[in-house]
Symmetry: C2
Subunit: 157 residues, 2 copies
DNA sequence: AATTTGGTTCTTAAAATTAGGAACCAAAAG
DNA sequence: CTTTTGGTTCCTAATTTTAAGAACCAAATT
């Protein structure tokens, strides 16, 4: 019932896990993402995940629900089979990146609040803050175009 | 010796602090950044930081060194004054964003490793991963141009 | 109706992080 | 050469995070 993985894949799971821990995910959640990336079958059941990663039911359940909540994973079902088959919402990657962009724009709003509160006696410093905020907004505005241009580079092939 | 701050500024410090905690900074480090953003004087001494935020010397020392290590802050000195005056490396924001971009490219490399390891029997899934990785690389490549275009929108004014 | 399956939820133990206190230290001042 | 200043470092307590175990539950199976 546990998924067979070679050493390289096991190592990749940990690597992906750590990359996600750095973003604030709990270790188990990161590893589940890693597993779903390298798994031969992209859809795995609760128990396949649990046994392959050697984690408890509770840890599995909590992490899966978290990952579903933030839209990183999904599940499919088959009629006549009670199990849920969890999978990465990979087709979703545009949205995931968009979320990152939204975080950037939030920071730019905070910086604008800072600027309103700041003394005007430090023009150079204030200017740097304003530039930083402005560039963040620029990224946000340019993102759709960037995506389009990327799509064009792909069509040509 | 402690810096006087109104409620709005205190609130902004916490907001900025939390935003940085989400990125994995420890709370004290995040608050120090917040303080340096809103402080009337942009350069503060160890003790001004310590007293304004009501934190211990050890916490202050550790967090300041961390923030210097990762290039978020800096300090200046004045001859005849032993104190260091810590400040945001605000002029540095291009580098800070560049670092984020580097993290993105690292993830794209990991995804390429994943693709090499993956079975070819899941073409659709693999294709999504490849797209994701490809777009990350595209962002990395386009970043300098994006920065330039932003700079142009500024010059015109 | 009893059991199995596919999970969820609650409580708790262990581990990791955070930050305080106190001792410490080097350079400057007295 | 003693004291003060501006920190650093070590140790520890408190808090937070993580994940396990066990009890639980609803739907499906026997």
């Amino acid at each position: 019932m546990s998924i067979e993985l070679n050493d390289k894949k096991r190592a990749l799971i940990e690597k992906i896990g750590i990359a996600h821990e750095e973003k604030g995910f709990q270790p188990v959640a990161g590893r589940i993402l890693g597993l779903l990336y390298v798994s031969p079958r992209p859809e795995l059941t609760f128990d396949e995940i649990r046994e392959t990663l050697n984690i408890s039911k509770s840890a599995t359940s909590t992490a899966l629900n978290l990952l579903m909540h933030i839209g990183h994973i999904d599940y499919i079902t088959f009629s006549g089979d009670r199990k849920r088959y969890f999978k990465l919402k990979m087709s979703n990657w545009r949205e995931l990146i968009q979320n990152e962009i939204e975080r950037v724009i939030k920071m730019s709003h905070v910086l604008h609040e800072v600027l309103e509160e700041r003394t005007k006696d430090t023009p150079e410093f204030n200017c740097s803050i304003e530039e930083f905020a402005s560039f963040m907004q620029f990224i946000h505005k340019e993102f759709p175009g960037l995506l389009q241009r990327w799509e064009q580079t792909r069509e040509q092939k």
